[in-house]
């Protein structure tokens, strides 16, 4: 059944699992071991893995993927409101909804390629964002965002007689409270991330993944060999839409609030940034990209002028003022400036992202090693 996965892949998968599950331990010295942030890492990693299946394998750059995340979020919250606080129901429904949306939008958008495809997906995402803000206010609750309330029916919970807590109900996984910043919430997201990662390895190594790569390298040749690329593309699009929907469902599972702003095209841009930063078309690249961006967003946004003054307090006053003035451009509110700059530098100098950088450094070392010690084998590549 797992014939396509080599030993290296299993090693990668097991390593990945261990790294993710021990995150609370090794993130502690980095100051990021609190559950709310780690949940974010997992959720955006799932989002980026899904995006990478489309963009990394087929080369189709979608600029509207946040729309599926938004659909997943809204679908999830509605399940909480109507039926049950159990996240299984909400997640399944979110997957169904985002999958359907991805099917329709993908079917239409994939009739064109290249920049036209990007603009079509962008147009659909903007349409959904605008509609969510205006006409669909009864469903999406407009600018306020869709929230839980005490008067929600929650038919299933009522029927099963799930005990009502005081105040707003909390999301749960068969009785385990996973909402808010708790560790169970993190492990819930982490397990799903591991499953998603496993599926992504499987897709990369499967004949289906090979087809997707063939589309990227030369669609014309693929057609001439007798394959129709459209179904493969649509399948890839729907799969990545499902990943985005799952990310949206997890967002509301850990914090039951859905707003339209997470569908905006800048949000779609963010997942593109994550994937590029980590490394397009690699397995772990998107995960690294998502984690790094969310981690540094957290650190940089927390800095303000006072914190900077404290950091540079060892300097003489004049120089300190100058440096603080300069640095304040990049931290706090200016975090996006840093992000934009880093992103530009990566695209210009390292189009393969961090994974390409790692590969280059490895190549450097392995060459030195072969000079020093010819008997030493080549370094195992990460992917």
């Amino acid at each position: 059944m797992f014939g396509n996965m080599t030993g290296k892949d299993w090693l990668l998968f097991i390593g990945f699992t261990i790294v993710v599950l021990t995150a609370p331990i090794w993130l502690t010295p980095l100051g990021a071991a609190y559950p709310a942030l780690m949940q974010k890492f997992c959720i955006f990693a799932i989002f980026a893995i899904g995006f990478n299946i489309l963009f990394g394998l087929t080369g189709y750059l979608s600029f509207g993927h946040a729309a599926f995340l938004g659909v997943g979020s809204y679908a999830g919250v509605w399940m909480f409101k109507l039926f049950s606080m159990n996240v299984v129901i909400s997640t399944v429904f979110a997957l169904i909804c985002s999958g359907l949306f991805a099917l329709v939008i993908g079917y239409i958008s994939l009739r064109r390629s290249g920049i036209y495809f990007s603009i079509l997906t962008l147009a659909f995402a903007q349409m959904m964002y605008n509609v969510a803000y205006s006409v669909l206010t009864p469903i999406t609750n407009g600018e306020t965002g869709l929230q839980l309330s005490l008067s929600d029916p929650r038919h299933l919970d009522r029927a099963l007689g799930v005990s009502e807590s005081i105040g707003l109900p909390r999301t749960s996984f068969f009785g385990i409270d996973i909402s808010g910043g708790g560790m169970p919430g993190f492990y819930f997201c982490a397990v799903l991330l591991i499953i998603c990662f496993f599926l992504s390895i499987r897709i990369f190594r499967s004949p289906f993944g090979m087809m997707l790569r063939a589309i990227k390298s030369n669609q014309m040749r693929m057609k001439y060999t007798g394959f129709n690329p459209k179904p493969y593309l649509l399948a890839a699009f729907v799969i990545s839409g499902l990943y985005a929907g799952l990310a949206g469902a997890l967002m509301v599972a850990t914090d039951p609030l859905a707003g339209a702003e997470r569908m905006q095209w800048t949000a779609s841009g963010e997942v593109v940034l994550m994937t590029i930063l980590g490394g397009v078309g690699t397995l772990v690249g998107p995960v690294i990209g998502a984690t790094l961006i969310k981690y540094f967003e957290n650190i940089f946004s927390a800095f303000n002028e006072n914190a900077l003054n404290v950091t540079f307090s060892f300097l003489p006053a004049d120089i300190r003022e100058l440096i603080v003035e300069l640095a304040s451009l990049f931290v706090g509110e200016g975090w996006f400036l840093t992000l934009g700059l880093v992103f530009m530098i990566v695209v210009i100098f390292l189009p393969g992202g961090i994974m390409e950088g790692v590969g280059r450094i490895k190549a450097l070392f392995s060459r030195k090693k072969t000079q020093d010690d010819a008997a030493q084998g080549s370094v195992v590549a990460a992917e």
Binding site: G59, L61, I108, R111, R112, S113, G114, I115, Y116, S118, I119, L120, L122, A123, F124, Q126, M127, N130, V131, Y133, S134, V135, L136, W265, T266, G269, V272, I276, L329, E333, G334, F336, L337, L339, G340, L341, F343, M344, V347, I348, P351
Partner: protein
């Protein structure tokens, strides 16, 4: 009839802005083959040229007038723009007409920004895939946007139109119609201004030798290069012109929409749609589609239309774009062979 005319007019100024931005986008795409996501940022930079100029003019002198007192009993402070006290009536004129006058400073600034952008960044992306071009210019747009946000804050900064044209014109009387159709002067001016800019660009490309070479370069860059013409240099100039056009569109738009740091991004997405509807690489198509979509959007926001199809004004442009892309893959006026896949 009146309502119809009014909506038509309302669409014109927005259509003018779309057309100007889309014109620059198409020009850059047609000549350099680069998809420039930072073009909206140029529009925004133009608008902030007007803001800066206005701020410079409004550096105030404070004189204390002992004869008058404020309701709090302190001597009245009289604030007067420095230029006004220095240059008298001419200074007052400058302050009043700060928006149109800032065109003069915006042209060299935008040209400079455009040339630096092309030489420094875009040039290295000619031979990279379109996805890379989109990504790097997207990054650049974020950087420009955030720098502006850092210096000017996140709130919109209103700019006034000159007093003489601050009111509304009675368009109905002008056209010899019965009813009273009021339409802000400035929007009318903006429309005429956009026509002027578009005409200027077309005249430059059509009637000058320089423009002819550029057009030849758009058709077949390699052959023009083989003929011994430094086409790269011309393309740099073209990028500069596109930047100036976007900048001027931004300068003149400030009295209509108070500029803020993300106005560029807002307009960019729509302008891209405009370019695609008009046909990638077709200048006339971009202009036509710009006005068409602007007018269409204004018709969609009529209450009569909205009561039948709620929310249609929000999505009409995107809907049209999707329909056009699927029915007419080349757009309204796209040429054969330009980015057809």
């Amino acid at each position: 009839m009146d309502a119809f005319l009014l909506q038509l007019l309302n669409g014109l100024d927005k259509g003018g802005a779309y057309a100007l931005i889309a014109l620059g986008l198409t020009l850059v795409f047609g000549t350099l083959g680069v998809v420039n996501f930072a073009h909206g940022a140029l529009f925004m930079l133009g608008a902030f040229c007007a803001v800066v100029f206005n701020r410079l003019l409004n550096i105030e002198t404070v004189t204390i007038d002992e004869t008058q007192t404020t309701p709090w009993g302190t001597p009245m402070e009289i604030r007067e723009p420095y230029v006004q006290s220095m240059l008298g009536d001419f200074g007052a004129f400058l302050v009043d007409y700060s928006v149109p006058i800032s065109i003069i400073i915006a042209i060299p600034i935008m040209l400079l920004i455009g040339v630096i952008m092309e030489r420094g960044l875009i040039r290295h992306f000619y031979n990279r895939p379109h996805a890379d071009q989109i990504l790097v210019t997207f990054g650049l747009a974020i950087v420009i946007q955030e720098i502006i946000k850092h210096f000017f804050g996140a709130n919109p900064i209103p700019q006034g139109a000159p007093d003489a044209v601050n009111g509304s014109a009675n368009i109905g009387a002008m056209l010899g119609l019965e009813g009273f159709i009021s339409y802000p002067w400035w929007r009318l001016i903006y429309f005429l201004f956009s026509l002027l800019c578009i005409g200027g660009v077309f005249a430059f490309l059509q009637f000058t030798t320089y423009g002819m070479v550029v057009r030849a370069g758009m058709r077949d860059r390699e052959t023009v290069g083989l003929l011994g013409i430094d086409i790269e240099k011309r393309f740099t100039v073209v990028f500069g012109i596109a930047a100036v056009v976007a900048g001027l569109a931004g300068v003149m738009y400030t009295p209509i929409l108070p500029p803020d740091y993300h106005m560029g991004m807002d307009f960019l997405v729509l302008s891209f749609v405009v370019v695609v509807v008009g046909g990638m690489g077709s200048l006339a198509g971009a202009v036509l589609a710009g006005f068409l979509l602007g007018i269409l959007q204004s018709f969609a926001s009529m209450t009569e239309v909205k009561s039948i199809l709620p929310g249609i004004d929000q999505i009409i442009i995107y809907l049209v774009a999707v329909a056009i892309l699927l029915i007419l893959p080349r757009g309204l006026m796209g040429r054969k062979g330009v980015m057809e896949d």
